[in-house]
Amino acid sequence: MSIVLSIKNVDKTFGGLHALGDINLDIEEGKTHAIIGPNGAGKSTLLNCCIGRLIPDNGTVEFEGKNMIGMQPHEINHAGMVRVFQTPEIFPDLSVLQNVMIPALAKRDGIFKFNAFKSLSSEKALEADAIHILEDMGLGEHILKHAGSMSRGDKRRLELAMGLVQHPRLLLLDEPTAGMARHDTNRTIDLLKRIKERGMTKIIIEHDMHVVFSLADRISVLAQGRIIASGTPDEIRGNPKVQEAYLGGAEL
């Protein structure tokens, strides 16, 4: 198995606060790697360090052998590492289909392309792919809707579609089911399982243990900015240290 993403010795402090301390993590190709931990453990900070929103004080983030530190967010995106946001960061003034067309265009056109004289309606291939993914997400009947007027749950799914349409090498999911109703959560799990079958590598940050244990191949536990345990779901389930620090001793 080859390593897709390799995080080495990453440190990050805010003011005096140690948000991340000496993080080392390897993500294997085709695997779904979950990062769990209590609130404020540094999960989102770690994700932000990967996609260029934050720059770590120390350490490297190597994606397919290339250091991503100091690269612009859009460059990291083009390298193949794509993030799906926790709070929906969509384009509220555009239609649902256009919301998915934008990342699809980004994937095809690169960082900049002046295609001002091409007609948007001639982009049949991209459009078909976008519609296919939206239907996959159960958003098929909404494609012409104003994205800003959708429900929160639909926006979350649109977020996911925007990430998937880029067919990334590595997908970073920040709490993909937070705030979803049970049946929506199950639907999302099914969907993510299907993506997994296609061999897409994923990092998932999640609170919902049901989601974590139904999807993850490996789990890393973050507490107070440090990784206290890493292993298969079974290893983590049985790890007393994890139960101590994270679950307060409760049985998983």
């Binding site: 612009q72 859009h74 946001f85 934008i102 690169g110 392309k113 007609s119 948007l120 925007m162």
Partner: protein, 378 residues
């Protein structure tokens, strides 16, 4: 744009061309069917259409676009002075030079967004305006304005002996209707380019920047070059419009660069509907049309208009209305502007859309009412 036919660019362009070229006919009943005014519609239409590509699509509010208008005018007049009275080189050079300036000003201004962007563009405009009045006098001729003189070299033209020459298109005099049709053709081209941009992937990306710029960065776009391209295109439109002004009247003054002129194009775009295809052209034509009518009215004419009223009422109405016409036209404009921003942020186009939706609803409602009634009968 609900009709499927209007989705086809060529249908839209055919309609647009027909409407523009026949404007002298169908605008004459409202007193606008003469070349001077029609030419103004076309020129300010181009200016506003270009401004809309920046403001309407990306949401970046420039308060300094009049600079490019001024640069266009100066360049055109210099082309008439040094090269030839033919309008083609003037138009081409003006558009290009405005583009060059737009690259510089845009590159610097686009390093910031929001109010800071507006203030940066405003600062550049004010600097250009002040310099045009002072140290750049050798180029701009200061307060007098740059104009043609008898001893201009005009290297490509044969020397004229009598009076100042007028602008031509390969020998065709550019005053009157030929002047309008020249501007009209450029307006059609300008509109066509704008239409293609609006309906292109590029245009969609610009709209996405307006909607959520941060997200664009994480979606894999470098937004700066997109914004700069939009800025430069709109600057070139302004330069083109500026050169066309000089064709109508070969005179360029610094007041064309003043920030009130920049404010005017903002107003036109907003009034018509920022971000819509036709809005800016509608807005600029409405403003120029009413400016033409209102600023020419005087109290005598007002008395004629309101002669049907009883005398005492007529005097009151005329006294009030008198404040809004003639020199008071700007007051009307300011009020109009406020009303549009307060009540109709989408401009005239949005107003038309709402009105038509309202009418459609009325019909639908009466239709459903009837069916309900008939259902009850059964």
């Amino acid at each position: 744009m609900s009709m499927p036919l209007l989705r086809n660019d060529w249908v839209v362009m055919a309609l647009f061309t027909a409407v523009v070229l026949s404007a002298p006919i169908w605008l004459s009943p409202v007193g606008a069917g003469y070349p001077d005014l029609l030419q103004k519609f076309a020129i300010f239409g181009i200016f506003a259409i270009g401004f809309n590509i920046l403001f309407g699509l990306t949401g970046y509010l420039s308060f300094g676009h009049a600079v490019f208008l001024g640069i266009g005018s100066y360049t055109a007049v210099w082309s008439f002075k040094l090269l030839t009275m033919n309008v083609i080189p003037a138009v081409v050079l003006a558009t290009l030079l405005a583009g060059v300036f737009a690259v510089v000003i845009g590159f610097l201004s686009l390093r910031r967004s929001g109010i800071y962007f507006s203030i940066l563009t405003l600062a550049f405009a004010q600097m250009s305006y002040n310099l045009a009045y002072s140290v750049l006098t050798p180029i701009t001729n200061g307060e007098t304005g740059l104009q043609l003189t008898m001893d201009d070299p005009r290297v490509f033209d044969s020397a004229t002996t009598e009076g100042l020459p007028s602008t031509t298109l390969f020998g065709m005099d550019m005053s009157g209707y030929p002047g309008f049709y020249f501007c009209a053709v450029l307006l059609i081209i300008a509109f066509f380019i704008s239409l293609r941009i609006f309906r292109s992937p590029f245009g969609l990306k610009l709209r996405a920047i307006k909607s959520n710029q941060t997200r664009m960065r994480y979606t894999g776009f470098n937004t700066k070059p997109y914004l700069l391209t939009a800025f430069v295109i709109s600057g070139m439109y302004a330069g083109l419009a500026g050169s066309l002004m000089a064709i109508t009247d070969p005179l360029a003054g610094a007041e064309r660069m003043q920030w009130t002129a920049s404010g005017e194009v903002v107003l036109m775009t907003i009034l018509g509907g920022a971000g819509t295809l036709l809005g800016p052209l509608l807005g600029s034509s409405i403003i120029k049309y009413f400016e033409n009518i209102f600023s020419a009215l005087n109290d005598g004419q007002l008395h004629e208009i309101f002669a049907f009223l009883p005398d005492w009422l007529e005097n009151i109405v005329v006294a009030i209305a008198g404040e809004f016409v003639g020199d008071g036209w700007h007051l009307t404009l300011g009020l109009l502007f406020m009303i549009v921003v307060i009540f109709l942020p989408g401009g005239v186009v949005e107003g038309i859309r709402r009105a038509s939706a309202f009418v459609r609803n009325m019909f639908n409602k009466s239709a459903t009412d009837e069916s309900e009634l008939s259902a009850e009968k059964e």
